[in-house]
Amino acid sequence: MWAYIVRRCVMGLILVMAVTLITFVLFFASPIDPARFACGKNCSEEQRDQARKALGYDKPVYEQWTLFMGGLVKGRDFPADPELRKAAPELVTHCPAPCLGYSHLNAKSVNDLVKEAAPVTVSLAIVALVMWLVGGILFGILAAITKGSFLDRGIVGLTLIAYAFPTFFIAVFFLKYLAVKWQIIDYPAYTTISEGGVWAWFTNLLVPGFTLALVFMASYVRMTRAFVLESMSEDYIRTAKAKGLPQRKVLFKHGLRAALTPLVTMAGLDFATLLGGAIITESVFTYPGLGLLTVQANAASDLPTIIGVVVLAAAAVVIANIVVDISYAFIDPRVRLG
């Protein structure tokens, strides 16, 4: 099993490296010149070249990539140009490993930007995950065991509605009606635990969390319903009934055990995807998470920040994949890692 884990981790590292390389190539293939943004509007050709050199964008793509990877492993000093560092040592910023880059626009290392934004995104993702798992599994089971009834049709119909409305619409709807027009809730604004305590942190996450959870919940309701129906028609359910087990035990011990196992995979991967930032939800609610950071960096052609967040998101997905696969060895006795 350890050999398996090591092999998966090595493969994961290679995958993350490949993602960074592709990201670099993609960005340098685009016509955007980050040096022009850094230099400002009234900027001569000469000044622009100077800025490009200071930012390290004058080097070929593969060299920049090697520098980036080196920074991930060993840490880096900025600005990238060694002559500039020598000329103005008081302006040098050290970015310790794993260094995700330096945002000239924000005059901060990407690590610092991520450190500020990540707690918002992680909080949002956790609250949403709990909501959609509880809601999705509960309503999914309810729909499955009342299959064909009005309740089942009602639940399935509601999931269709939740699917059909885009997240930005739902978010704006909640803000406009719940917070502004009817004033049922306070206008949600992210509060850290150290600022406002756990309660304020939690209550402020409820509405954005629910907005984010809704579309996931809809698909989890339908998946749970399908998995439970499938599992309840298996031969081992007939065996369980033939033993004389009461119906609830047939459902909860035998039916759900098999039905909910695939949800572990889905939930793990969906959660990991959200760790890269819930772009729409964070943007509409202006929650300063990784999603909002990415949107802002995109608008300002802040390449280092974009690359840093992409690498982080890729790493989250790769790690979640490994964790899900390993957890399967504990969930399903038939799975042997190797």
Binding site: E234, D235, Y236, R238, T239, A240, K241, A242, K243, G244, L245, P246, Q247, K249, H254, R257, A258, T261, I331, D332, P333, R334
Partner: protein
Amino acid sequence: MDKFLVVDDLKVHFPTVDGVVKATDGLSFELERGKTLGIVGESGSGKSVSSSAILGLHRGTNAQVSGRILLEDVDLLTLTNEEMRQRRGRDVSMIFQDPLSALHPYYTVGNQIAEAYLVHHNVSKKAARKRVVEMLDLVGIPQPDRRVDDYPHQFSGGMRQRAMIAMALINDPTLVIADEPTTALDVTVQAQILDLLQTLQREFNTAVIIITHDLGVVAEMADDVLVMYAGRAVEYGAAKEILTHPEMPYTWGLLSSVPDLMADPTEKLVPIPGAPPSLVNLPPGCPFSPRCRHKDKVPGDLCTTALPELTPGTRGEGHLKRCHLANPDEIYHEEVAS
């Protein structure tokens, strides 16, 4: 007390959009303790549906079950769901066809067998485990105290079926229904399993219904035989009489389809032409008539217009057949068996 088990005019109908599927349509038979009844027929002839009705496994589905199933003078069809559940696995138990899919993949064999014991006995888990180990030993599982913690996939096919038998017999039931218990097994293992069933039947004086399409199994195990076709009994009587002097062309067809090790290898097997009829809207007349080679020996178009009644045959008391042929025994020995 009359007979141990009396099934009288059992009907299991499934309403569907295409019409009512009459999976079992007026089935009657009797069984004494310690005796074995073989139910034979092609797939879809209603064998499994009928036996599931004895366990009450159609409860909670849209099946319409009518008639009487008297087990020691108690009509199982009049019991409440809870009363039936308490009998299931305790008085009547079932051995299923494919033990790999009939056992839950996520629970140990011991856990699943102990569950069958615990649901009907108020004992500690430790006592149940001890009983499970005894049962596994009884059905011939080597090192039962260790194998009790194995998962089904760690057992061989024969061992899984032995475990199923242990599960079915752990509550000392008076009636065991074995639904094609050897179909999924190797020939050598089949013989061992049948042998085991017979030994345990003698030891516990259990009544056994064995459902099979294998006439070899019937010859080996059964005291009585019930041949089913299209949801109805077509021939019923003592096994040794029916296997040597069958009086219904469908039974002849089944017997001619069995390869004989001693026969001349150049001689071809005689399969029954055609396929079983759809159980929705059976045409009038004998349901077997479209496939019957001997219907021209019946005067007029009786075979296609009138359903033959189940009438006494010539082979002893209790022998019943459903056929219009006037002298079936003669035809069989002159034309079919020679």
